[in-house]
């Protein structure tokens, strides 16, 4: 029986067209995004695309697609068949390639072929696009927009880039827009000579020239003069991308573990979404320990186990029973050692479970839906693994 939260996640994925999966690094965001996609394709149906940033090679293998890149590829039905599942819909995957994404933007917005080639050939272009104004974040949003606008998918799930700050992602389109409207850009793109002539007396430019050297400023200026020609297209597009984030069809899923730092970041992110009128659909708490570990009856059982482990009659009996399962059969003292280890180490796990429960309570208020996913006993290496994880989600 699915839990109420799992039903709610299934409804969320059925109702929304774009899902942005975010959260701090190391929480299993990429895997959760893929599991959501696989499970949605299998049970909700429709054409589901998972756009991922930097999948582990094993994940690519898991999806049965070997390498995948900027272009979407379909996860073959055989990969689902191997897991004993006939999906109701289709699962597609693509990877976010920032460099290719920028080149594509330049191609689209450059007013003519000459300018396009000049920008693409500019030595500063690559350097700047790979570092400039949270470039990955903007390209991720841009790709989401593009894929959604293509009308080819019922659901696009995007695994967001690891940001230094989660807000960078949300603010990337706005920053892009602001950048093109900034006085700095206008100043940089004033022809260099006249700038020197008219503005040389102003302290800012003096300082900038002294610190950075005029040649460097000139190089930058040349690049931005080229770039500015693309302004109208870029600004209009950034506005559309920005709108997409607050669109009714868009929702966010935050992935966190119950460790201190990711949980802190998750709460911060949830508040940031709320203040920007962006919809937080669900919070996924990944790699949580089962609630049963916290039960006082379990601690009691561990204590009892510790006590009975010293009972000679019991260990002798268990040692005898083990004959069929382990060769050579366990000795009573081996049984005792293992039972004691199990019992004593249970308390370590229970402390972690209690720590997790505290953080879970702190996070409970921030999201309408909270689902827990366990630590998987093996690394996920096939669709079956993704579907198994996905079954905890919806």
């Amino acid at each position: 029986m699915p839990t109420r939260a799992q039903v709610a996640v299934a409804e969320l994925l059925a109702a929304k067209e774009m899902v942005l999966v975010c959260g701090s690094g190391g929480t299993g965001k990429t895997t959760i995004a893929a599991a959501l996609g696989a499970r949605a394709a299998a049970t909700v149906g429709g054409r589901v695309l998972v756009l991922t940033v930097d999948p582990a090679r094993r994940l690519a293998t898991a999806l049965g697609v070997g390498q995948f890149g900027n272009t979407e590829v379909r996860v073959p039905d055989e990969a689902f068949a191997a897991a004993g599942v006939k999906p109701r819909g289709e699962m597609w995957v693509a990877m976010l390639d920032t460099k290719a994404g920028w080149d594509e933007l330049v191609r689209r917005h450059a007013p003519d072929a000459k300018l396009r080639e000049q920008v693409l050939a500019n030595p500063l272009y690559r350097n700047i696009t790979s570092r400039f104004v949270h470039s990955h974040d903007y390209i991720a949003m841009e790709r989401l927009h593009e894929l959604h606008a293509s009308g080819s998918y019922d659901l696009v799930i995007i695994d967001t880039p690891p940001s230094r700050n989660a807000l960078d992602l949300l603010d990337a389109p706005g920053r892009m827009r602001d950048f093109f409207g900034s006085r700095l850009l206008r100043w940089l793109t004033v022809p260099y000579r006249s700038r020197l002539f008219t503005m040389a007396s102003k302290p800012f430019y003096q300082v900038a020239d002294r610190v950075l050297g005029s040649r460097f400023l000139q190089d930058i200026a040349e690049f931005f003069i080229l770039f500015q020609a693309m302004e109208p297209g870029f600004v209009a597009r950034a506005k559309e991308v920005e709108r997409l984030l607050t669109d009714q069809r868009t929702t966010f899923v935050i992935v966190s573990t119950l460790e201190a730092a990711p949980a802190h970041e998750a709460r911060f992110l949830a508040e940031a979404l709320a203040s920007r009128h962006m919809s937080l659909g669900a919070l996924v708490l990944n790699r949580t320990l089962p609630a049963s570990i916290r039960a006082s009856s379990a601690t009691k059982a561990a204590n009892e186990l510790r006590d009975v482990a010293d009972g000679a009659r019991l260990t002798k009996q268990l040692a005898k029973d083990s004959a069929g399962s382990v060769d050579p059969a366990a000795s009573p003292s081996e049984v005792r050692d293992v039972l004691i280890e199990i019992a004593e180490r249970f308390h370590d796990t229970a402390i972690v479970a209690a720590r997790e429960a505290d953080r879970r309570r702190e996070l409970a208020a921030v999201a309408p839906i909270i689902v827990d996913t366990p630590t998987m006993r093996d690394d996920i290496h096939d669709i079956a693994g993704l579907l198994e994880l996905g079954a905890y989600l919806l």
Binding site: S24, G25, G26, T30, A56, I128, V133, R164, F179, S182, L184, L185, L188, P203, F204, V207, A208, D209, R210, V211, L212, G213, R215, F216, D219, I220, F224, T257, A261, L289, S292, I293, A295, A298, K300, A301, A302, E304, L305, V308, L314, Q317, L318, D321, S322, V326, A330, V338, L339, E341, I342, R345, F346, D348, T349, I351, V352, T375, D378, D379
Partner: protein
Amino acid sequence: MPGLLDRSLLFVTGKGGVGKTTVAAALAESAVRQGRRTLVCEMDAKGALANAFDVGDLEFEPTEIRPDLFAMAMNTEDSLREYLRLFVRIPFVGRIGPLARTFDFVADAAPGVKEILAVGKLCYEVRERHYDLVVVDAEASGHIVAQIAAPSAIRELVQVGLVRDQTDWMIDILSDPARTGLVVVTTPEEMPVTETIELLDRVKVETSVDIAAVVANRVLPSLFSEREAEVFAALSKAIPQEELQAATSRQLATVFDAAELAEARWRIGSGHLARLRDALDDHLPMLFVPELFTKAVGRRVVAQVAESLEAELD
């Protein structure tokens, strides 16, 4: 090869969420215990370092949080002000108001400017010998190369000007293994280990900074020897049996499940650690910090991690 804490500048990096800040704080703590005047600096201003030390928000101006342990938060704008005051001799900081406002844009647009202001400040503290050791809670592994390679990158891009002149001494400090080292923190998990291996390759190719150590954080203890694991598997089958059920309460299955889970996590983790060790140069120290089974956060955790690191460094 100098001891880790005998260097003057340590950059601590790692994939987000692996405990980079805790390890940076613990290294600083250990250095202070060895009598070294230490500055620890948080680069991304998220406040994690302040949380680790249980102190209020950190500023650009270092706070002495206990004798000989200083902490600061990097802020490139303040760093720029300090730089202008020290090197360009612009006396009236107020007059750079418009500069500060547009600074973010220049810094975003001009590759390496923010990074060099940050790294420059750290190198400056080393050069002036204000501290025996500067520990940097640096950018996460995705951004660290851009940070530590900034002086070289700027050197290539900027042909003249003060900034270029300043890069030479920074590069001297950064490329001297007796003074500067990079510490990469990971956890025994797939992505952090893979990222660590990739990062080490990039650091070797793209920077001149010496890799000082790899720290494996939150390493789980092994429950069983191979033989014990077999006995455990046999006993697991015995849970439904009367002997155990009669002797304990019905939650026994949970206790066995927890052991199985812990064992599985340990097994997966050791696989990743073995893969990491194989990929590392033989001489590169790998330091193990165990998972802490405690409810504590902050200072207490830093102290425990510091103890583990000290034991590993001995």
